[in-house]
Amino acid sequence: MIIRTVYLKEGLFERRIDFSPHVSLVHSCKNSCGKTTLLRFILHGLGYNIPNTRKINFNNCEVRISIECERYGCIELCRSNSISIILVKNGVNHTYVLPEQQHELQEQLFGVNNADILNNLLGAFYVDQEKGWTLLNRGIVIGSIRFNIEELIRGLSGRDCSELIKKENRLLNERQKYNQMFSVALYRESIEEDAGSVAIDSYEEETDIELSKLIIRQRQLKAELKRIDQTLSENKRFKQFVADMKLLVQAPDGTTFAVTQDNIVGLNDSIDLLITKRKIISGEYALVSSKIGALEKEKESEYEQQAFFQTASQIEIFDRKILRIPLNPQAIKAQQSRLEKELKAVRDEISSITKNNNCVVASISDKIIQYGTELGIGNKETIPQNYLFTSNLKELSGALLHKTAFAFRLAYIAEIEKKLNVKLPIILDSPSGKEVDHDNISLMMEILKRDFADHQIIIASIFEYNFDDPKKIEIEDRLINEMMEIQ
């Protein structure tokens, strides 16, 4: 994919910026002129939900981007608000609602419809100046957009874990609830220990127990009544059906008689039985309901009294209610550890589906080792094969982390190209940050020149880089700086 031009408009000002299909350097001599803003405008224009920069609110601007895609050729994108984007393909306008139709839009741009891949493309081709150079395999790309290596690998290797991920989310949800319960249980214990100050009102407790029993019974009876009504109407319908058939049957002795609704063995009896059963159950239902009503009224008057006398503070009332909830921290703890085990098992399974015998993993790892070696991060012996999935970032610091992040991104981009035949642009914001010395930057740029010459490279920086004939986009003072011609 190549970004050809970007047109920006803010109020009466506008700017059209042409990009080179090879290397474009967004440059300014000073900081805070709008380099990062331009890169973010590009992403915003591609349909991503990107946070504003300090000076410019994207929703007040219009962005038009012309791009050339591998699959659909020239496409123009126009975005002037946060909730929709217009895509012009072959002269036809298509409007996409964001973020609901983001995947559909991106499918047009990248020619891929796998959500696992689409969710993680930005993390591969864009390196933010703040978060980007510390992002290796999992984390925030920019704003609320995240990157996850496992997801990308599953997408690239066509492995589906959606059911397991659903299960994982359900378990996480449950675990969160149990955690809340556990803290309530601990709180309850602490009130109990505070002996004497709040005693459980046993009468209230009894009323509550009685009420819950009655409510359960009421529910059972209601379900029973519903079932009886249904069967009753089915049986009556059957009875009518038989009567309408007007069948004649012959007995073994030769006599003929009509089949009527009254001579089917057991039919009328079953209807009478159901009617009586209904009567008995309705009687019980009415009795239970009136008992519930009476108990609720009793409770209500108690609360009213409490409120009237103001004897109990909100905290006391709350504590009383908490004390009435039977919570056992040990039992909750047991549930928590059960959930942890289940969660671990699910995660192990997801991980094994993702990682085992996966050529994508091997191929990305090889690339990481190759670039890691070139950049002086380590070599085949010191960088393990599964380093791709590392979660230990503490051991990396400063320039090392910077270079590692770079090596990882390039490995992802190379693999995406290999699998999908899509040449992603490479957008780097301030690659010279973090006190990375000139030699290291040169090593990084050499790799780009050598292995990614076919990709569009856009770099924003206050420094110059040694590329053959780069397109320089100079930004002075402000990004959108040309007054519109008023016709």
Binding site: A223, R227, E234, F238, G266, S270, L273, T276, I280, G283
Partner: protein, 325 residues
């Protein structure tokens, strides 16, 4: 309240004594406190008179007697009465030493069976009534009914219900008490409605027995030879509403009854044939009644359903014949 409670229970007792010929029962009817309409269109009319401290207080019994024979006389002019009854809880309804022992316990005394002095008291009460009742139809019935303790108060009523249930030969523990409660509430509710013309037919009175008798929660002794009680309870607990539905939905039970009819159980009792059918034919219903459980529970569930359908049919027939419904 005490008076009405007595009236309800008196009606239950009279109803049970005449259940075979009964067509309908009404409390606070057009003619009398308790009206039993019989299948031959005749009536049994009863005046219910109660005294709270019946065993010691006889002050008003004569006045009660006088009022009763007056209204019974009037009512007997309006309908064809078979019996005219004064039903009371007083063990000394005539307040007379000579007849005290006659009315001991739950007595039923026709006019002709009373001592002369007692007959004289009753005849005196009829003085001044233009069209007095036919004394050959008149009887005094005692229903002991005293104190606030329900067990004591209802003991004779309960005995009557138990005897009735015993005759039906149902062998259901606790049936008498449950039935008495249902009847007391059913008839009571009828009686408290403003429109006393609401009538309870015999079927309304008898069907509650059938509902209780066909309840699957109770395990028949015969089944217990085959099922462990806990296994039975477990299946009922989990699948009661499925079992009920199968027993009640005609499209299903008609099929089972047909298969049972075809099933050869020569030389066996009805109950044994019913059990054999359930134990041997359950697999035929597996496709329709497949549930996601272990094979043993699945088998037990279908057997219970088949047994219940056939057993219920037999019970319904049996009870209806027993009370001539």
């Amino acid at each position: 309240m005490f008076g009405f409670d007595f009236q309800v229970n008196a009606a239950i007792v009279l109803m049970l004594e005449n259940i075979e010929d009964l067509e309908s029962l009404r409390l606070e009817g057009n003619y009398e406190d308790i009206e039993l309409k019989l299948e031959n269109n005749q009536y049994i009319l009863a005046q219910a008179k109660s005294v709270e401290k019946s065993s010691t207080d006889f002050r008003n019994v004569r006045a009660n007697l006088k009022k009763s024979v007056k209204t019974l006389s009037e009512a007997s002019q309006k309908v064809d009465a078979q019996k005219l009854i004064l039903i009371t809880n007083s063990p000394n309804p005539l307040n007379e030493e000579a007849s005290r022992s006659v009315f001991y316990g739950p007595a039923h005394r026709l006019f002709s069976s009373l001592p002369d002095s007692s007959q004289g008291i009753i005849k005196d009460c009829l003085d001044g009534i233009k069209q007095p009742l036919d004394l050959n139809k008149f009887q005094i019935q005692i229903l002991p009914f005293e104190t606030d303790d329900d067990v004591e108060k209802y003991k004779v009523v309960k005995q009557n219900v138990d005897d009735f249930v015993g005759k039906l030969n149902l062998n259901i523990p606790g049936l008498g008490k449950r039935l008495m409660n249902i009847w007391q509430n059913e008839i009571f509710h009828n009686g408290t409605k403003k429109n006393a013309a609401i009538t309870r037919h015999k079927r309304d009175i008898i069907w509650p027995i059938i509902v209780i008798a066909t309840d699957v929660e109770r395990c028949d002794d015969l089944l217990l030879d085959y099922f462990d009680q806990s296994q039975y309870d477990e299946i009922i607990h989990r699948y009661k509403s499925l079992i009920d539905s199968c027993c009640e939905r005609c499209e299903f039970f008609i099929k089972v009854l047909h298969d049972y009819n075809e099933y050869k159980g020569m030389g066996k009792s009805l109950a044994q044939k019913c059990l054999d059918f359930a134990l041997n034919k359950w697999e035929d219903y597996l496709p329709e009644l497949k549930v996601d459980v272990d094979p043993e529970t699945q088998k037990g569930l279908i057997q219970i359903i088949l047994y219940s359908i056939v057993r219920n049919r037999i019970q319904v027939q049996h009870i209806k014949e027993g009370v001539n419904l």
